[in-house]
């Protein structure tokens, strides 16, 4: 299997506290796999997700490379208005280009693909002007640069803050469709309705015209997922996407993500603090601690035969429905 992206020696340091959030992390994400990245708070798992999506704020010090292999045929001449998209062109940031980007033959798919080194880093979400983006455009074709929204779908933990509170949800999804797929508003809305059906929102016709605050937490997260997959991205990043939800809704969202990833042939990067939840979904699990990759392996190997003591401690700390209750360990009873 080929790698969709290769992360090499990625270090990220937030200027504010000077602590390295990621310390020389190297990781391959294979095309079509479901990779879970787990770790406790401060492990750098969310920083990794943001770095891959090019969402790290300006002023964050970044070293290393993120190498993408995105087949050219997949996204013909569709590019997004720079005003709403992060700038992930390689001319910015403290990134060393080891060699100039050159087109190669993608053996697995038998079609031309561009291998390019980009800075996924130092991007920002807004305030980017048309002129500013054009200035930074590089020599390689624009449609080979992975763009958030088009090539990468991102689902955040809190849908209340990732959705625009004053825009109907249908318009939010249609906007993504229109921007990346170059459809008319009418077709975009039709596509938005289909997307709402795909994320199993009941009565999509009326939900198209509702505002985020009128929906429950689970429904909001479904809408956020619909917007994330609207342009048919190759990579879906879910950053603690179910952590704010209750157990039942969490299970529904996880099953929805599993189904959508399978149907669209997406690659999934699932960021979570919950090793048990990650194990229900992922093919492979990467365990992060203090910004370093502690262990990486097939889910079954990680769960049944972890090589590192830290991974074992995480597994032992999980309180499942078959674990020995703490009450018994202490022998306390009223």
């Amino acid at each position: 299997m080929t790698a969709l992206l290769s992360i090499r020696d990625l270090s990220v340091r937030y200027r504010r506290d000077g602590v390295e959030a990621l310390k020389g992390l190297s990781l391959d994400v294979k095309t079509g796999e479901r990779l879970a990245v787990i770790g406790e708070s401060g492990s750098g798992k969310s920083t990794l997700a943001l770095a891959v999506a090019g969402l790290l704020a300006r002023g964050v010090k970044i070293e290393g490379t993120v190498e993408w292999k995105i087949s050219r045929s997949r996204t013909p001449h569709s590019f997004a208005p720079p005003s709403v998209l992060p700038d992930i062109s390689p001319s910015r940031g403290e990134i060393e280009l080891s060699h100039p980007p050159s087109p190669i033959l993608n053996a697995a798919e038998g079609e031309p693909a561009a291998e390019l080194l980009i800075s996924p880093l130092e991007g920002e979400m807004s305030g980017r002007t048309e002129g500013g983006a054009v200035e930074r455009q590089l020599s390689h074709p624009r449609d080979t640069i992975p763009l958030l929204g088009r090539d990468i779908g991102f689902v955040f933990q809190d849908p209340s803050s990732s959705l625009d509170p004053v825009m109907p949800v249908g318009k939010q999804i249609a906007e993504v469709v229109r921007t990346h797929l170059k459809l008319s508003w009418r077709d975009s809305y039709t596509k938005a309705k289909t997307l709402l059906e795909r994320v199993r929102i009941p009565d999509p016709d009326s939900v198209l015209h509702t505002y985020p605050h009128q929906l429950s937490g689970g429904q909001k997260q479904r809408v956020a997922i619909a917007a994330a997959i609207a342009a048919g991205p190759k990579l879906l990043i879910a950053d603690e996407a179910t952590s704010a939800l209750d157990t039942i809704v969490q299970a529904e969202i996880v099953s929805l993500i599993r189904q959508l990833v399978a149907e669209d042939g997406m690659t999934l990067l699932f960021i979570s603090h919950d090793i048990a939840l990650a194990a229900t979904l992922a093919d492979r699990i990467a365990v992060l601690r203090h910004g370093e990759l502690i262990e990486l392996g097939e889910t079954r190997q990680i769960v049944e035969a972890p090589r590192r003591a830290y991974t074992r401690a995480l597994l032992d700390a999980h309180l499942g429905l078959d674990a020995e209750p703490l009450l018994d360990r202490q022998g306390a009873s009223p």
Binding site: E40, S41, S216, G217, L245, D246, T247, I248, V249, Q250, A251, E252, H273, D274, I275, A276, L277, A279, T280, V303, E304, A313, L314, L315, A317, H318, L319, G320, L321, D322, A323, P325, L326, L327, Q330, A332, S333, P334
Partner: protein, 258 residues
């Protein structure tokens, strides 16, 4: 003798002009040194019940007896004095404290308000409380925002036990913590329960955690009790639809099994 007896509790809210029952005809009892868990999906009324029991909001109907006396009958200074016996630990230990507070001030308040120690004695009491929850007494001088999440939740527990309560409401008190820290906090809670015979009203959406620490469980659905009973028995064999759904949705690790 029961610590807390709640009967036919009801609370209605208006949402979009329509009344809806957040809590509807809920009754349960908690015995000394017992942990009763409230489980259920979001919107099932768990947190509303916690706030009703603590008199942070007033019920529309029902009765709350705390330590054998009608808790809804007291008000003003009498209610504030009664609060010493009924404490709470919140989910987010950062939001639960005044952002300007230091650890010492957070622990000084309950001692001062309830006259448990003179001004001169209080620093010694604060140090003892910090040691009781496994923290270094030197932490007293630190600001709340400077210490780690796990330390903060220990400070929250120290504040809750400062007034020697008979009941502590734990509202998702371990949900925001890392798993390794969570285990230590649960051990601390069980230890305190055994030594000081504190009863817990343990609110959580996580059946795994409930099974680990609770004696009995009440499963709520849309403000009503769906089922209740021995925590392990109910979780092993749920009868209600919501109970079955909660058990089925809990992620499990199938370890050392083919």
């Amino acid at each position: 003798m029961t610590v807390l007896a709640v009967s036919n509790l009801a609370k209605r809210y208006h949402r979009g002009g329509k009344p809806f029952a957040a809590v509807d005809d809920v009754s349960f009892k908690i015995n000394p040194a017992e942990t009763l868990a409230l489980a259920g999906p979001s919107g099932s009324g768990k947190s509303t019940i916690a706030r009703l029991v603590l008199r942070l909001i007033e019920p529309d109907a029902g009765r709350i007896d705390f330590e054998g006396a009608d808790f809804l009958a007291v008000s003003g200074a009498a209610l504030r004095a009664r609060r010493a016996r009924l404490q709470m630990v919140f989910q987010d230990p950062l939001a639960a404290f005044n952002p300007r507070a230091t650890v010492a001030r957070v622990l000084d308040d309950p001692l001062r308000i309830h006259g448990l120690a003179s001004r001169a004695e209080r620093p010694r009491h604060i140090a003892a409380l910090l040691e009781r929850v496994g923290l270094d007494p030197a932490l007293a001088a630190r600001a709340i925002h400077e210490i780690s999440g796990g330390q903060r939740q220990r400070v929250a527990i120290a504040r809750a036990i400062a007034t020697r309560p008979s009941l502590v409401v734990l509202d998702e008190a371990v949900s925001a913590l890392d798993v390794s820290v969570r285990g230590q906090i649960l051990e601390l809670l069980l230890d305190l329960q055994r030594q000081e015979r504190i009863a817990y009203l343990f609110i959580s959406h996580d059946l795994g955690v409930i099974r680990a620490v609770a004696h009995r469980v009440v499963i709520l659905d849309a403000g009503r009790i769906a089922e209740s009973g021995d925590a392990r028995a109910v979780i092993a064999n749920p009868q209600s639809a919501i109970g079955k759904a909660l058990v089925a949705a809990t992620p499990r690790l199938t370890r050392d099994r083919p």
